[in-house]
Each structure stands twice: as structure tokens, then as C-alpha cells.
């Protein structure tokens, strides 16, 4: 459904991505792995329209979206979930979630979606009225995922959902992602530093290094690939 071809992006005057080409298929769980600063966040931010590419194309269901503004991309069901940040600290948990349903197409099912998010994350229901800035790191992560779900996504872009979480919480988060993937039939592009986990729950993976795509393959194959083992699983 999403095709990226020859994508190059400059960030802060520096080339952060160069000639990146890959594809996310309908209903696929694709992992995007690479070390800190390899360009994973840049890639996701570009896909969601926050950064403009220097060259290359991004197409969603055959329509070019690389020139669109973030809001237009959200309207098409491509939703970015940033790593536990960009919440609205002075709004309640519920208001934060409702912001996720801001696009007009989401209004009708707003209540229903809210219930759905609360069943996935009962913790958020408990904290419904609390201001977002009082949440812990793990709860913030749930909140941004929940906010993304409120927009009724077709393709979720997740930026390091495990960042800064205790190991137990990481497992929980990944479990929720897997459930979402299976029960809702969501397509997911997951950027992760925690390579071993990411490869275990995804079906396919691409590897980014220094702004270039260096490997693509089935997650199971990559998990046993000697080069991947040396470079990423050692960490």
C-alpha cells in the first residue's frame, strides 16, 4: 500500500536519508531497524509529512503523498506515533485521546474508538481525567499509541515505542502492537532499536544505516543472519 522510492531527505542542512526504496504491503508488520541516528525518525517524519524530501517519491495506494501537508496525510489514514513525546501536557488524558480523533472523518465513531482504546489500555481509562504531564513514561507511550488509534489508522508508523521503558513494559507494548496488528488488520511500520524484539514480532524488516537502506528480508532470516547478529544483536 505504501511505496517509497529513491527517497532523500536533508535535516538541519545535512543529508539524513539517501535513496531509500522500500514498500509496506497491505496488512504487513514491517520492522525498520538501525542504530541511533541512522535516520529512522527522519524517515518516519518524512512519511508523515513533517519533513519534505529532497528527492524521491512516496505513494500511498497509487497516490503521491510526498508533497502533502501532515494533516492531509493523517486524513488518508497514515498515522505517526512518536516515541512517547509530543503529547499535550496541559490537557487531560481524555482530551489528548480526543485530539487523535480530530480529523473530520473520525467524528462519527469517536466514542466507539475511545472505548476501544480504553479496552486496550485500561490504565488510560483509570487516568482519564489526569493531566498528561503527570503520567509516567510507560503511560505516555500508551497515550500516544492510543491517540494514534483514535485516528482510525490504516497504516501505523511507530517510532521506537520501547524507548526508555522498563523491559517488562517493552514486552507489554509489543504484545499490544501484535494484538492490534492481528485483530484490526492494521499495517504497521515499526522503527526500533531493540532489534531482537522487533525482529521477533515483525514479518519482514528493513535495515537502515547512515541514511541508506542496507538490508531487506524476512525477519526470521535476519534474526539468524550473521551480519545482523554482529551489528545489532550484540547491543
Amino acid at each position: 500500500m505504501l511505496k517509497v522510492e529513491g527517497l532523500s531527505v536533508a535535516y538541519d542542512g545535512l543529508k539524513a536519508l539517501e535513496g531509500v526504496t522500500f514498500e509496506v504491503r497491505e496488512g504487513e508488520f514491517l520492522a525498520l531497524i538501525g542504530s541511533n541516528g541512522a535516520g529512522k525518525s527522519t524517515l518516519l517524519n518524512t512519511l508523515s509529512g513533517l519533513l519534505k524530501p529532497l528527492a524521491g517519491t512516496i505513494t500511498l495506494d497509487g497516490e503521491r503523498i510526498d508533497h502533502l501537508r501532515p494533516a492531509d496525510i493523517v486524513d488518508r489514514g497514515l498515522i505517526l506515533i512518536p516515541e512517547g513525546k509530543w503529547v499535550f501536557p496541559q490537557m487531560s488524558v481524555k482530551e489528548n485521546l480526543l485530539m487523535g480523533a480530530y480529523p473530520r472523518r473520525c467524528h462519527k465513531r469517536q466514542k466507539e474508538m475511545l472505548e476501544q482504546v480504553y479496552t486496550h489500555f485500561p490504565r488510560l481509562k483509570e487516568r482519564e481525567r489526569q493531566m498528561a504531564h503527570t503520567l509516567s513514561g510507560g503511560e505516555l507511550q500508551m497515550l500516544v499509541i492510543g491517540r494514534g488509534l483514535m485516528a482510525q489508522p490504516r497504516l501505523l508508523l511507530l517510532d521506537e515505542p520501547s524507548l526508555g521503558l522498563a523491559p517488562r513494559l517493552v514486552l507489554e507494548t509489543f504484545e499490544v502492537l501484535q494484538t492490534l496488528h492481528r485483530s484490526l488488520g492494521l499495517s504497521i511500520l515499526l522503527a526500533e532499536q531493540d532489534v531482537s524484539h522487533a525482529l521477533r514480532i515483525s514479518s519482514r524488516a528493513i535495515v537502515l544505516e547512515n541514511g541508506r537502506l542496507v538490508m531487506t528480508g524476512n525477519s526470521a532470516d535476519l534474526l539468524t543472519d550473521p551480519e545482523v547478529k554482529v551489528r545489532y544483536l550484540g547491543m
Binding site: 542504530s35 541511533n36 541516528g37 522498563a166 523491559p167 524484539h197 547512515n210 544483536l233 550484540g234 547491543m235
Partner: protein, 243 residues
């Protein structure tokens, strides 16, 4: 008398959050100490507190016999503790040479030598905004060295470097330690580099010191594997040979 940087029971709170909880450590010249741990473990906060950018909630920092806990960053720098930032903070509208001069305290020859050490001498007259990410990183290190420090605090200097650049950086750090006799406290995520290069490693977890030891000990420590490494780190001889 040997120089010594000593952190004594450091605690740093942000509002209700305790980012650093009772950490003590010592650093000597000619020694590289790696500071590792998961994100949010308090590594960068600790660096910020030592360099005076943040003030400790309680605890002390000693440089030799001086209690530098409450000193302002520029005095700490002049006293002999220089640092780099996680995201390089070069002065974009200054030239590379001017960037070096900001911190240089010891004449232009010394400053130029630092620029040569990191291999940026040819770009001295360019604006820092025209450097690549890797070059900005090197400029930061040169700038820190130009202040003639006794101790150097490095914040993730390997992040975003490709394998060749990583090797280059490892060599540079080793050179700084042995030829300049500078003690380095080094926050890093790239385990390969830390394991090869550090003399000692401290693992931080949720603001406290989990363990401290030689790289080999850390790599096999069950606690560290549990909270951070995920699985055993294997030293690979053939990789070192390649490097």
C-alpha cells in the same frame, strides 16, 4: 599529585522525578570510563551536572581539592573539565577555526594542533553550518580539547556514525587518552565501541549505579544482561582484527 575527578553521592531531581539517585564515581587521567545504561537512566543528566549545566539537588563534585558543585559551567571548563553534547552544538555562523578559538586558552598553535588531530584543518575557514554530522562531532571534540582539559566528558560520540567512522573515533579516543593523558567519562550506546575502548564501565539504571567493573565482567553480568543488554555480549576476535 595525580589529578582526580570525584562525584560524591550525586542526586538530581526534576520536579517529582529523580533522574540521578545517589551516584558516586571517580575518574583519573589516562583512563576511559564508559557510562552505559538504558535510555532515561540518567547518564546525560549526570554529565550535565558534572559540567555545571545543571545543578545537583544534593551531593558534591570534586576536582582535585576543589568542590566544584556550584561552579558555573565556564569556570568548570577552565578548571579542566570539558564536554561534548549529544547533538553537536557547533556555532553555525562561526567558521570552524572560530569555533575552536571560542574554547582555546593556549595560543593558536595548540588550537591548530587540535584541529589537525581530528582532521579538520583543511576546513578551518568554512562555516560550521556547512560541515557534515560526523565533522561537527569531530569539531566538538577538537573544541573541547582546545580548552586543554584534564578530563573530558563525552555524550554519545558514536551515535549516527557508520562502521568506518566508528573505528576512526575509537582510535581518536584512545589517542586522546594515552598521548594527552586525559581522563574520559564516556556515555555511549554503541556497545562494541565501549567494550573495546573503555578501561572500566559503569552501568546506570533508573538513576542508580547498577554495577561497575571491567568490560568483560559487565558483558557477563546477569543483571546488566537483564535490564540492558538483552543477551550476552560476545567479544569477537575476528571483528577486532578487521577493525
Amino acid at each position: 599529585m595525580a589529578n582526580l575527578l570525584r562525584v560524591e553521592r550525586a542526586i538530581k531531581d526534576f520536579g517529582g522525578l529523580r533522574a540521578v539517585a545517589d551516584v558516586s564515581l571517580e575518574l583519573r587521567p589516562n583512563e576511559i570510563v564508559g557510562l552505559i545504561g538504558p535510555n532515561g537512566a540518567g547518564k546525560t543528566t549526570l554529565i550535565n551536572c558534572i559540567s555545571g549545566v545543571l545543578k545537583l539537588t544534593s551531593g558534591r563534585v570534586w576536582l582535585n581539592d576543589h568542590n566544584i558543585t556550584r561552579w558555573r559551567p565556564h569556570t568548570i571548563c577552565r578548571a579542566g573539565i570539558a564536554r561534548t553534547f549529544q547533538i553537536p552544538r557547533s556555532f553555525p555562523r562561526l567558521t570552524v577555526w572560530e569555533n575552536i578559538l571560542v574554547s582555546s586558552r593556549s595560543g593558536e598553535d595548540h588550537a591548530r594542533a587540535q584541529l589537525e588531530l581530528v582532521g579538520l584543518a583543511a576546513k578551518a575557514d568554512l562555516r560550521a553550518s556547512s560541515l557534515t554530522f560526523h565533522e561537527r562531532r569531530k569539531l566538538e571534540i577538537a573544541r573541547a580539547l582546545a580548552a586543554q582539559p584534564l578530563f573530558l566528558l563525552l555524550d554519545e560520540v558514536m551515535a549516527g556514525l557508520n562502521p568506518t567512522e566508528t573505528v576512526e573515533m575509537v582510535n581518536l579516543l584512545c589517542q586522546i587518552r594515552s598521548s594527552l593523558q586525559i581522563g574520559i567519562l564516556w556515555v555511549e550506546h554503541v556497545m562494541g565501541a565501549v567494550m573495546e575502548c573503555a578501561d572500566r564501565i559503569i552501568v546506570l539504571h533508573q538513576g542508580t549505579k547498577l554495577v561497575e567493573g571491567l568490560p568483560a565482567e559487565i558483558a557477563n553480568d546477569p543483571q546488566v544482561i537483564e535490564v540492558y543488554l538483552g543477551e550476552r555480549y560476545e567479544f569477537r576476535e575476528e571483528r577486532r582484527a578487521q577493525g
